[in-house]
Symmetry: C2
Subunit: 261 residues, 2 copies
């Protein structure tokens, strides 16, 4: 069994036998440049090894209408939707109420979540602000938070996690354990000291020959000279090896030694 | 004169007197985790100083349908849309054709762009692959590329730039020079060694008192102990100073010395 939107295509990440996911990073601090997002990279890389492909990531402000419309669009389109941020105790934490609105359910004091807060802070220290973190949409299941108590939650295929990296990582690992997974996406990288335009035509013909392998070409500069990395990805190891060898051969034909990794 | 979607709100970045922008980062390499995106932070921070607020960022795969639908949604919603990535010479560079499709115009060999490639590579070195980089939607104006010749382009309020950071930075600075700008968004930061939940209620009342100032609360851990940073932003310096002083006073009332920056 595989997920939504299957089919092979050269460059749009439709790897055969994988599930498709989207990430919603919630928080003005990312959009103002105050905080460098690292969740997209961390989650994208981790999912891929488990046959789940991160196909889109959106960074949103702490805006209820935006969160509602975005989550509703993405949960219909993808197998899994992950959100990070906005589930703390302050006035700018509006993710839980937004998710409830997206699903058209009320938000309620969740007894299980409240007990987790009591365990974390002590019964007399669950202030009204902290108690906000036990307000969870009706019908959600909790995602444990081993770092600071206040849980995330899951509604259908939407997984709502904290924004603080060490908390998000722990929540994500817990969520990942319970997800249906696809074929791992394998990758090979070939680096060489050529400008990508020199090999673009040949590379395109290799891509056409291996429709089940996705070939990306990423130019960069080293000491002011053009280099390029070719990244080949597939869930089919045999095709991947053949396409990689053809690409390496193409580099050698231009008088350069491919550096494989 | 100010841009689309004006109005004050506590947490959704609707700073008075600013323009609104969206960023589309195009490239599978970001979604697979191979490459850490740094464009969102760099662009978001820079825009804010010029009274343009980055209100949404989306990372997309190299997928024509996705790029078309996303760019069309965002260019209707925001004053400015910036895209990065996918304008090189290889088969996975499909941004220019996608933008043409989004605007419903043909893509053509742009004489001015072709001349730039001739100047960069020499007339006999403009291979068919390199010539692809002169294919520009009809009606676009070029964005110069002082690093490697091949230009970006602008169509109405959409600015299409390269993905390689040093090229994107040069293109962006050129684009920014020509944009209509709003009131600069000013910010103040207060750090303290308190858990955010302790001050959440008071902070909420300060937020309610200053609707033209946006107050964000960002928890973190230092040596395992909870800290919090309050970030206050506004285009109105007088309100910003007052709200900052009230927030600092709130921290002192809890027996901690606020660290301002």
């Amino acid at each position: 069994m595989v997920g939504k939107k299957q089919g092979l295509n050269m460059t749009d990440m439709n790897y055969s036998g994988t599930y498709k996911a989207a990430l919603v990073v919630i928080g003005n601090e990312i959009l103002t440049g105050r905080t460098q997002d690292t969740h997209t990279q961390w989650i994208g890389e981790k999912l891929l090894k488990h046959g789940i492909v991160l196909c889109e990531a959106r960074t949103l402000p702490d805006n209820e209408d935006k969160i509602v419309s975005t989550v509703n669009a993405l949960r219909a389109e993808f197998d899994y939707v992950f959100t990070t941020g906005g589930i703390g105790p302050t006035h700018d934490d509006i993710t839980a109420q937004s998710i409830a609105k997206a699903f058209g359910v009320p938000i309620e004091n969740n007894g299980e979540a409240y007990e987790l807060l009591v365990k974390q802070y002590g019964a007399d220290q669950v202030t009204p602000a902290r108690a906000r973190m036990a307000l969870i949409p009706v019908g959600a299941s909790l995602i444990p938070n081993p770092v600071s108590g206040a849980p995330g939650f899951a509604m259908e295929n939407v997984y709502v996690m904290a924004g603080v990296p060490r908390i998000m990582h722990a929540m994500f690992d817990h969520v990942l354990d319970g997800l249906q997974k696809g074929k791992p996406v394998l990758s090979r990288t070939i680096m060489c000291g050529l400008p990508e335009s020199v090999v673009a035509e040949k590379l395109s013909s290799i891509q056409a020959q291996y429709p089940g392998v996705e070939i990306g070409s990423y130019p960069n500069y080293r000491d002011g000279k053009p280099h390029v990395s070719f990244v080949l990805r597939s869930t089919d190891e045999a095709s991947l090896e053949k396409a990689t060898e053809d690409t390496a051969q193409m580099v050698r034909a231009h008088g350069k030694e491919p550096v494989m990794s």
